[in-house]
């Protein structure tokens, strides 16, 4: 079985961001369910949090290819 330690490293690195994004959107969905008027205000915060958490996963896959 051939492979690359880089890819194993990337696979491990997706744990954190996966959990983080799940938590962020769980909080967003809960808040909108309790108070639908808050949807527009919270949407930009949710998207910002998503992009910040996704950054680590993206750095992982990028460096897995490059290094």
């Amino acid at each position: 079985m051939e492979g690359n330690l880089n890819m194993v490293g990337y696979g491990l690195a997706t744990l954190g961001p996966g959990l983080a994004i799940g938590l962020i959107f769980a909080a967003y969905i809960n808040s909108v369910a309790r108070q639908p008027e808050a949807r527009n205000v919270l949407q930009s915060i949710a998207i910002l949090g998503f992009a910040l958490a996704e950054a680590l996963a993206i750095i992982g896959i990028g460096l897995a290819f490059v290094l």
């Binding site: 930009s44 998207i47 910002l48 992009a51 993206i58 750095i59 896959i61 290819f65």
Partner: protein, 266 residues
């Protein structure tokens, strides 16, 4: 780092997956040692297109806007209201042209990855987001230092008042590292690696689908190839969303950093 074309001609020898080499294209023409590559052409094209688009919407502006002027004003208003006023407030209005330039420049160059004849996200090469991140870094350092002086800015950042002094030993290096190093680096890497990884996966979908459909043969190849090619279309739409989102996040974070440098840390 195989050239993507080799994977297609490889045919029956097996499938060679595309690597980072798909971003390294031969130069269009060379002047001495300076090669003019496709990504440079896309950057220049983006500048021309954005300028022409906004100039056309702003020329002969009237009080009651027509459709073209309304479209241009909505696009600019999205950055001005949604990003500028929301995050910085009225004091941030001088920075709105900078933020709007960032937003439209980044989104056009991102979207060039799925526009049919261009098909290369120019922001996938690290040089362009690096310069943009450095620009944002210089702007917020300048704003902070102009308000509080060079040493005052660092003192405010590393030693905010109202905290018991042993915490400073931990807080000061973290704040310094975060503001001066981590912020511009992650700003740059987030944008460029999103575009790099996304383009790579898109090319993998398309080349893999083509290989399965035509070269692998048999009913397995045809079925899985067509599913993969349909998946590549869906992935293209997902990529369009991510490209716009990354441009929005870059601009939003730039606005947050500038706004953070403008107010006193309390």
């Amino acid at each position: 780092m195989t050239n993507a074309l080799l994977a297609v001609e490889g045919g029956g020898d097996g499938f060679t997956a595309p690597g980072p080499g798909i971003f390294e294209l031969p130069p269009i023409f060379e002047i001495g040692a300076f090669g003019f590559t496709k990504s440079m052409a896309i950057i220049l094209l983006s500048v021309v297109v954005i300028f022409v688009a906004f100039y056309a919407t702003a020329r002969a502006a009237e009080m009651v806007p027509g459709k073209l002027q309304f479209a241009g004003e909505s696009a600019y208003g999205f950055v001005r209201n949604g990003i500028g006023l929301e995050t910085i407030g009225k004091a941030g209005l001088p920075f709105v042209p900078f933020l709007a330039t960032l937003f439209f420049f980044i989104s056009f160059n991102n979207l060039a990855g799925i526009i049919p004849m261009l098909q290369l996200p120019a922001t996938g090469r690290i040089a362009y987001p690096l310069v943009l991140a450095l620009l944002v870094w210089f702007v917020y350092l300048y704003v902070g230092m102009k308000r509080a002086g060079v040493f005052g800015y660092f003192r405010e950042m590393m030693f905010p008042p109202g905290i018991p002094w042993p915490v400073y030993i931990l807080l000061a290096p973290i704040e310094l590292l975060s503001n001066v190093i981590v912020r511009p680096v992650t700003l740059c890497l987030r944008l460029t690696l999103n575009m790099f990884a996304g383009h790579l996966v898109l090319v993998l979908f398309i080349l893999g689908g083509e290989y399965l459909l035509l070269d692998y043969g048999g009913i397995v190849g045809v079925l899985s190839g067509s599913v993969t090619l349909v998946g590549s279309i869906i992935f293209t739409f997902f990529k369009a969303f991510i490209m716009l989102l990354q441009a929005y996040v870059f601009t939003l974070l730039a606005a947050l950093f500038i706004g953070g440098a403008m107010v006193d840390e309390h």
